[in-house]
Symmetry: C2
Subunit: 235 residues, 2 copies
């Protein structure tokens, strides 16, 4: 945890932060913090800065925050990922927030197992929990927007026409396509398929909607590694 | 598993493959393979191709391999990572093999916890197991070399002078440094520090040994994400 995130409900009547639970344990156990020490803090979807520890014991810490910094800029990236298995989904959520992706769309695809849509990880409060872990890692306060689309065709036909304009739309797919571009400056929409890839019908639909199919090279990468290495390549 | 890997000991007297255990279960359960079906196979540190299933039941599968392809080229990358915690180490090992990194050096650093060197993950057969998972994912047969260096200073003073010549040596470190270059063609040596980063003394030693310090941008990334996004950026 490189940043202690808090929300309005952590403030007491004097505007100080009242920290308990897991964050308190982390302050005590990992950072070994004491009264008078400072901690990097950030308000969820707000500013960030430092806080001085006014008091700390096993039940609660009281911190006086000074929020004089802005969160780092987001990447101009809208990521669209075919819903992965829960274990991978957790990592994708964390990484989305960690790298500063603006928006994440989780979509259905022929090769997405139906059971994946039943995972508790997709509950809003669990999604938020993993996003917060990513923000704490990379010192950001702004939660990316996460949208779920349980049907592929309506997403492509009704939502994509709104998402594509003004963006470079790329579809990463194994095969003999041009390599993904590097160092783009413009807003980008990036599609990453499921394990086994999008099926030809899906590729066709996405290409008709304005996506350019690009290759990741000769290797088939795990979805999480495709996401992070493409982010490194693109930005 | 996108490639079934085997070694000489899996061959019977006719050169056919005798597959049992976890790989057999995977063929049956995940791929639902039957006699006459083909499977992509690769010989560890050898060629790859397809194999026809001669027979298969709950005890064993017999496959007839035809190895007519070469493994994909490795990246011209020597990765040097400060030994991470075991959970992350497993992912780094898998990703090293998956991306086709040529060599991995795990080194000590001031901020590497001593206990990390005690993990069973560092036993050669466990290292190999995770590397094989990476090769199976990206369809490669050649195991990257993995070297352990439990002392930082002897590594820098005695081993680095042999590793650096002919390579671009980069040290990824948070801070106000030039951004990591993109799309390099030349052999590259890439240093990734521990959580919390290398200490100033270590940075100095590495710079004296010919490393150029580069930044990953304004965000502090988890070690595994630093590795994969830098690979995407560099190659």
């Amino acid at each position: 945890m490189n940043l202690l995130l808090f929300s309005a409900k952590d403030r007491n009547e004097n505007g100080q932060l009242q920290i308990t639970g897991a964050r308190l344990e982390h302050l005590l156990a990992v950072h070994g913090k004491d009264s008078g020490d400072t901690v990097r803090v950030g308000e969820i979807n707000g500013g960030m800065g430092n806080a001085t520890i006014i008091s700390i014991d096993k039940t609660a810490a009281v911190l006086e925050p000074v929020l004089d910094q802005q969160a780092p800029a987001k990447l101009p990236l809208t990521l669209v990922v075919a819903l992965p298995r829960p274990k991978m989904l957790r990592r994708i959520l964390r990484s989305t927030a960690e790298f500063g992706v603006e928006e994440l769309h989780l979509i259905n695809s022929y090769r997405v197992e139906k059971s994946f849509w039943q995972t508790p990880v997709l509950q809003p409060e669990v999604i938020e929990q993993y996003l917060l872990q990513g923000l704490e890692q990379s010192r950001d306060t702004c939660l990316p927007a996460v949208h779920l689309h349980k049907r592929f065709k309506p997403f492509v036909e009704d939502e994509l026409p709104v998402l594509v304009p003004g963006k470079q739309a790329l579809l990463a797919h194994p095969g003999d396509y041009p390599r993904c571009p590097r160092g783009v400056a413009m807003p980008t929409l990036l599609f990453i398929g499921p394990e086994g890839g999008f099926i030809p019908y899906e590729i066709e639909k996405l290409e008709s909607a304005g996506c350019q199919t690009v290759s990741l090279g000769p290797r088939i990468l795990r979805v999480e590694n495709a996401v992070t290495s493409l982010i490194g390549r693109l930005f």
